[in-house]
Subunit: 272 residues, 2 copies
């Protein structure tokens, strides 16, 4: 059985073991900063991201490239090359493509092709606003993961996601995901909302959670472990983007990124 | 005052007057079908879409390219060229880029750059699940429109959007959009749900609605006019994609697309 044919969950579990922790590094290559880091490169986004990947690969259970930063810079071919590079140079580390797609029917099928065939991502973030039928097209390719937005990390996420008070939307999504899981689903639940993170965990059983918001957004890693871990103290993928990749905006960005990732890795270890 | 500096609303109103109706043609270039239509082209997606645009431009108030079909085919440069072509060959017809983006902070800013700077779209569809703060980054470029998903056309849209029974999510979005509008907001409300379309119209005042679901999805144009029009009998952009662009899948696709668009145009005329 080759690696891609295993379920996404199995690959994630191996990645937790291998890295010894829950850290995920988000690759959001903001172009002006990237240019300051690799001033002489003719493919700065690709070179910058590859360098960060190499500097942090032994510390992470996943990488999460954010597609808007590539698309705004007309750098789709850099994203293709980056994901191929991660699979090639660091096999076994899942790549979660953060694109927050969401559409119906034929359009959803095309987004699935974009993420899984074109880019070769292991998992894709998906926005559930159009309902469960809009999520199914992403689940047809064996071995890929679908990461549903549930309770996002931003300050204004409560406006829709907490509505209504008794049975808020985000818990509805968490419950349904637990019921429908086939080893391929995850939920986004922000580190900035520890109480809501605990509520998601209660509804989601042992489903893995992608937790943004530590690092630049100020979420507390210890609170994430306390409120977000599953019954075995696991099932977390805790993302930090800017606080790692732009720990220094200059030629020493590699060393600074590694130091920042090491510090977070130390706070986000597997139990035992 | 040049065209781009006017508010999106003003440009849409002119486009209604010029075309005499509410028809929008959706450009979803499914590659196998496109190849059957233009078998000898070396840029089939671009040639196909340009031909449909030329065959229907006098009948439409907007064009709506759906980005997943371009992205899955690695055809971003075709999408750039197509939108530039529409602005050049058919000035004054707004282009609504259907990408259903939705993210926070820096990522939302990058999506706005992708849609408005890179592609030159007049408006972008945006998913509101992350809350109002996630919508604001798209509103900073003067003269552009933001089209919020409200009550989508698919059968399973009720699962989240109708929750809870008393004050469903989609009406919450409609109310807030009306309050916050500055001539740049629109709402998606599907033709397949006439009662819900009427409810959106009640909450949204005279905000323009983008109405998918006539054509292949079976929504009734007369019901859209009855339940969706504003107090002046206007403010509708009624989209048909496949039923127009693939009315024939073969070398006569231009004539067939025009005939299909003409029939729909006749059912979606401005009053008076």
């Amino acid at each position: 059985m080759d690696e891609a044919a295993r379920s996404f969950r199995t690959r994630l579990e191996r990645a937790w073991e291998r890295s010894g922790g829950f850290l995920c590094v988000g690759l959001d290559p903001d172009l002006p900063k990237v240019r300051a880091c690799v001033p002489d490169s003719d493919r700065p986004i690709l070179e910058f991201c590859r360098s960060v990947v190499d500097a942090t690969a032994d510390l992470v259970c996943a990488f999460k490239p954010q597609i808007a930063h590539f698309a705004a810079a007309r750098a789709e071919t850099d994203l293709e090359a980056l994901i191929a590079y991660i699979h090639d140079a660091h096999p076994g580390i899942p790549v979660i493509l953060d694109a927050k797609r969401g559409d119906i029917g034929a359009s959803a099928e095309q987004y699935a092709r974009e993420a899984f065939e074109r880019y070769g991502a292991d998992a894709l973030t998906v926005n559930p606003y159009l309902g469960w039928e809009s999520i199914e097209p992403y689940r047809r390719e064996a071995g890929r993961g679908v990461v549903l937005l549930c309770r996002t990390s931003n300050p204004g996420s409560d406006w829709l996601q907490e509505h209504p008070a008794g049975d808020p939307l985000y818990l509805r999504i968490a419950r349904e995901a637990r019921e429908r899981d086939a080893g391929d689903l995850m939920l986004v639940a922000g580190a900035t909302w520890p109480r809501e993170l605990a509520a998601v965990r209660r509804e989601a059983g042992d489903l893995p959670l992608l937790v943004p918001g530590v690092g630049a957004q100020g979420g507390d890693p210890a609170a994430v472990l306390e409120h977000g871990a599953d019954s075995r103290g696991r099932s977390l993928v805790v993302n930090a983007s800017r606080s790692v990749i732009f720990a220094s905006v200059g030629p020493d960005f590699r060393e600074a990124a590694r130091a920042s990732a090491q510090a977070l890795h130390g706070l986000l270890r597997l139990p035992g």
